[in-house]
């Protein structure tokens, strides 16, 4: 993880090369727009820096054709997801590590935190929007779990004081980030509906463009174009691992929210319909996974259609088994014509000392049942021994019924989980 962090930090810092003026100009505007971006964790900052660097020119590095996608690559590796790079203009491999390492080390823990909280998938999204728009965009999506919204102003300030005050900035930003979660959540509540994120983002993008200097905006436009292209082309579900991360981040939210806060991942359309559809698809795939656990032998199957076919076959086979066994019972029952109470106890006796496979072995006699030498399958003998059974208290029946069930169910360990319903997430009895 540290290596990836270093690379991401490198990426970001390389970026910052370009126009120092823009950096100087940015913070003022950035501060106005993103007051709560102060809460951004330094970690976010580092990863942010990658994306921001694409948008803003860093005075410290001659970052020219930095490919945001490459940095995204690193960011997403950092976050644990994968990115489809569109073009690799930037062979950014060797960058001065010294400064970055200072900053990275100070913010490394925050970086970890971000990745743990699933911020990694949030990070790629940063590149898709303008610098100033990012924090608003993140807030609009309203991830309460990730209180670290990368902050344009913070990033700009960081770029400014790169060499000297970088660490202090990081720490300050960390404190602010950790302390300002309440503010962020309050603002996040303003952007409740997932139907408005696109509008908000566009508005903020415009705000940000106007606020930034020309150099900033130029690179922003370039990045935005790239992002829009990627958005239009990678519409659905290209980021499978990103989806998982989003699952993790979404799982922290209560299921009973009226509004579902969804983060559109990189390269996916941010249309409200597609967001809702993605949520729905994820839910369906969750349920499919549960079903996959239930149906035996479906671990290797991928794909909904095949899985559905398997499920249907399994349900049909179960129903056929029910019919077959009921036919068997119907034919077997009248021959015996025995009172079922006695059958229960006989069943219990059978189950006591034997497994389902060795039912004939017999005398696992319960001490409470003084039934000597029970003849297996010789039911006429039962009538003679029926008398001693009646006074047997029914109190033992429940426990012994359990044993019947255990006898049969021990053979299938998967079924054992069904009764006490241990560990089943969604199924309730």
């Amino acid at each position: 993880m540290s290596s990836t962090e270093n690379t991401t930090g490198n990426m970001g810092f390389q970026e910052s090369g370009g126009g120092g003026d823009s950096i100087l100009n940015c913070p003022s505007s950035g501060m106005d727009t993103n007051s709560m971006s102060d809460k951004v964790a330094g970690m976010a900052m580092c990863s942010e820096s990658m994306f921001k660097s694409s948008t803003r020119v860093d005075p410290f590095y001659g970052g020219t054709g930095w490919d945001p996608l490459v940095s995204l690559n690193h960011a997403e590796n950092f976050g644990g997801s994968s990115v489809v790079p569109h073009h690799n203009e930037f062979g950014n491999s060797h960058y001065p590590v010294g400064l970055e390492n200072q900053a990275i080390s100070s913010t490394s823990h925050l970086v970890h935190y971000a990745s743990d909280s699933g911020l990694g998938d949030m990070v790629p999204k940063l590149a898709c929007f303008g610098s100033g728009a990012f924090s608003e965009m993140v807030n609009s999506f309203g991830l309460p779990d990730c209180g670290q919204v990368t902050e344009t102003s913070f990033h700009q300030k960081y770029a400014q004081k790169m060499g000297v005050g970088a660490q202090e900035d990081c720490q300050i930003s960390e404190e602010r980030a950790l302390g300002g979660n309440g503010k962020k959540k309050r603002k996040a509540s303003d952007f409740q509906s997932p139907l408005n994120p696109k509008k908000n983002i566009e508005g903020e993008q415009q705000k940000d463009l106007s606020a930034n200097s020309s150099e900033c905006s130029k690179e922003q436009d370039e990045m935005k174009q790239k992002m829009e292209q990627s958005n239009s082309t990678n519409l659905r579900g290209k980021q499978a691992s990103g989806k998982q991360i989003k699952d993790n981040s979404n799982s922290g939210e209560p299921a009973k929210d009226t509004y579902i806060h969804v983060r559109a991942k990189r390269g996916q359309a941010t249309n409200s319909h597609s967001l809702a559809e993605r949520v729905r698809r994820e839910r369906i795939s969750e349920r499919m996974r549960l079903l996959q656990e239930l149906v035996p032998g479906c671990n290797k199957i991928t794909g909904k259609a095949v899985m559905l076919d398997e499920i249907i076959n399994y349900v049909q086979s179960l129903q056929q088994q029910v019919e077959f066994l009921s036919m068997k019972l119907a034919t077997v029952n009248p021959e015996l014509n025995v009172d079922l109470d006695r059958i229960f106890q006989k069943d219990i006796l059978h189950s006591r000392g034997s497994s389902a496979a060795t039912l004939g072995i017999g005398p696992g006699l319960n001490s409470s049942h003084p039934f000597p030498g029970y003849p297996q399958g010789s039911f006429p003998g039962i009538s003679g021994a029926a008398a001693p059974f009646h006074p047997v208290p029914q109190a033992v029946w429940d426990n012994e019924l359990q044993s019947i069930l255990q006898m049969g169910f021990d053979s299938s360990p998967s079924i054992n989980n069904l009764g006490p319903n241990a560990g089943r997430s969604k199924l309730e009895l």
Partner: protein, 171 residues
């Protein structure tokens, strides 16, 4: 049946216990009916066996549904079907659809999968599942999967219980 048996509240008893209990009780009832009838007629004809088979099958589904209670949509649908005496119809319809599916699905699936595969086959599969799970016609896909999972659980438990009883009988 026994007072001690009722001491444990219904919710805390495991699903398997409840299923077994109810099914055995239903079987007992059937047996009593049968013993009442058998004394009159000495030979058990095939028709009797067939009728008994249907009774046992209905008893299995009814006991399964009543053991689950109203907690699940499929059990509610099953219980309402039983009350409306529509269970027979549902069973017959299911068997018919199963036969049809066996014949046509192989062709359909073979055609769909190579071409593009997912969407049309998915919808058909959804429809099939709806027919299999009681009450599935009116559910959306999400709850359909939930109900299917619970239904599969209860079905497997029921099959286990019945197999135990049959094994007990046959040994």
């Amino acid at each position: 049946m026994s007072p001690q048996h009722m001491n444990i509240p219904l919710s805390r008893r495991s699903i398997r216990t409840r299923l077994a209990y109810r099914f055995l009780r239903a079987l007992k009832k059937l047996n009593r009916q049968r013993t009442g009838a058998v004394t009159s007629s000495t030979s058990s004809s095939i028709r009797d066996t067939c009728r008994r088979y249907h009774m046992v099958k209905m008893a299995a589904y009814a006991s399964m549904a009543s053991a689950v209670g109203s907690k699940r949509a499929w059990s509610r649908a099953l219980l309402s079907k039983i009350r409306n005496r529509g269970l027979n119809r549902w069973l017959v319809k299911r068997n018919k659809s199963r036969a049809l599916r066996g014949r046509s699905s192989s062709n359909a699936v073979a055609k769909e999968n190579p071409s593009k595969g997912s969407t049309v086959g998915l919808e058909e599969a959804h429809q099939e599942l709806r027919k299999l799970v009681p009450g599935g016609e009116v559910m959306d896909v999400l709850s359909l999967f939930d109900e299917t999972a619970h239904y599969i659980k209860c079905l497997t438990s029921q099959v286990q219980i019945m197999r135990n009883i049959v094994d007990f009988y046959s040994d």
